[in-house]
């Protein structure tokens, strides 16, 4: 009797990977999921930080998908290894600082290593030809299979009929006739399949699940690299880019001004790593300063923070400036008026 074949599915938490895994389960394949954490994931972090998001349902969509499918999910921290993909993408960036093709190759390569270590037979993804402009074009899909090393052990159940046969199909591990021929950006076929499979609730992240596809986020990351003089980052850096207003009054320093209570609380955790400002006599935002400030810079920073405080219409506001080395002093300033903070300062 033919042994049960085993596949690992790249589970992002979105609909396509959910469906691809279900198609395989329905063919009697043993499926386990794998999910890679890069540090740039959108959902959980912002919801965890921002108070206004506190009422939203907090769930990791990859875990949720795995539970719906009844499969195991292995979550892998690739933060360190992933830096090279973000900093030096061989195939370049997409519209923003999103290295989508290199990212896909890297994740399939990691999955290929995983199946070798765990004695699995093949890899499945939820890719659909033409679904995404950079990494899912028809001429690009073979590049992912080749450069990852997975070759024809990589099966895309949702669009397999539009692609050459893989070993998985040739060997009869799966029935090619029961695979799909989806293509393009139209989501209706996936939604119809979801309905047929009785999936009523699934994640539909607008603009994808990665911050690097976001124009505003990419601009902040580019600014960080430019002003540090090198393309490097740590996890704290990329977390802080997700939070607050980022304002750079000059080349010497950037401010991160919280927008609400949840961000206030989050930024307070960084007071030993950065200079920080707080309004003493009115409600106001917690603010971090990244860089080295002169006395004049401190006053400019205080005026900006005062502008975003409840004392913004007052003649004078008292601001506490706390340096990361522990020095603390107070500054009394007139808050900037709106037009005194030029648009160009906003990163």
């Amino acid at each position: 009797m033919e042994r049960q074949r085993k596949a690992v599915a790249l589970i992002s938490g979105g609909l396509d990977s959910l469906l691809a895994a279900k198609v395989m389960l329905d063919q009697g394949i043993h499926v386990e999921g794998i999910n890679f954490f890069t540090g740039f994931c959108v959902e959980g972090h912002t919801h965890a930080i921002r108070k206004k998001d506190k009422d939203k349902q907090k769930r990791n969509n990859a875990l949720w998908s795995a539970e719906q499918l009844g499969i195991k999910l292995h979550i892998v921290d690739i933060i360190e290894e992933y830096k090279d993909i973000v900093i030096n993408p061989k195939h370049g960036y997409g519209k923003n600082l999103n290295p989508c093709l290199d990212c896909k190759i890297f994740m399939v390569k990691k999955a290929y290593e995983w199946i070798q270590e765990h004695d699995f037979d093949f890899i499945i993804t939820g890719e659909v030809i033409g679904q995404r402009p950079m990494s899912q074009r028809k001429e690009i899909l073979p590049v992912v299979a080749n450069e990852s090393g997975a070759e024809d052990l990589l099966l895309r159940p949702l669009c397999a009929k539009n692609l050459p046969e893989t070993k998985v199909e040739r060997e009869g591990w799966v029935d090619r006739e029961k695979l799909h021929d989806f293509s393009g950006r139209n989501r209706k076929p996936q939604m119809a399949l979801a309905k047929a499979m009785n999936f009523e609730d699934y994640a539909t992240p607008a603009g994808g699940c990665c911050f690097l596809t976001d124009k505003s986020y990419s601009k902040k990351l580019g600014d960080l690299w430019e002003h540090r003089g090198e393309k490097k980052y740590e996890l704290d850096d990329i977390m802080l880019l997700k939070v607050g207003r980022h304002i750079r009054p000059n080349e010497r320093f950037k401010m991160i001004v919280s927008r609400e209570e949840g961000e206030n609380h989050f930024l307070q955790g960084y007071r030993k790593q950065f200079d920080s400002l707080q309004i003493l006599n009115f409600g106001g935002p917690m603010t971090l300063v990244d860089g080295i400030t002169s006395d004049e810079d401190c006053e400019v920073a205080a005026k900006i923070v005062a502008r975003y405080s409840q004392g913004k219409h007052e003649k004078s506001v008292t601001v506490e400036y706390r340096r990361k080395d522990g020095e603390v002093f107070e500054i009394n300033v007139a808050p900037f008026k709106g037009d005194e903070i030029p648009e160009i300062w906003h990163v």
Binding site: N35, F37, C41, G44, H45, H47, A48, I49, K54, K58, R59, N60, A62, L63, W64, A66, E67, I71, K72, L73, H74, I75, V76, D77, M239, H265, G269
Partner: protein, 75 residues
């Protein structure tokens, strides 16, 4: 009981911490994690259910979230 500190880490990092710790210990071991991310209250129990481990307790103490899991035979 093994105590894990996942304060200041956001999901899925607390889940990864729990997952990696569970892999090191025999059946019956109790592992308690402290997280500052409320998402841990959903994600760690979900992870435990998927892998067949037992949720012993989850609680919120001010702004910190505690989840205790008993290592069971991996399904």
């Amino acid at each position: 009981m093994i105590e894990l500190d996942a304060r200041k880490l956001f999901c899925p990092m607390p889940v990864i911490k729990m997952q990696d710790e569970v892999a090191k210990h025999p059946v019956g071991t109790l592992i308690r994690i402290c997280s500052s991310d409320p998402g841990a209250l959903n994600d760690i129990p979900a992870w435990a259910r998927i892998h067949g481990h037992k949720l012993i307790e989850s609680e919120t103490v001010e702004r910190e979230y505690f989840v205790t899991v008993e290592v069971c035979e991996d399904k």
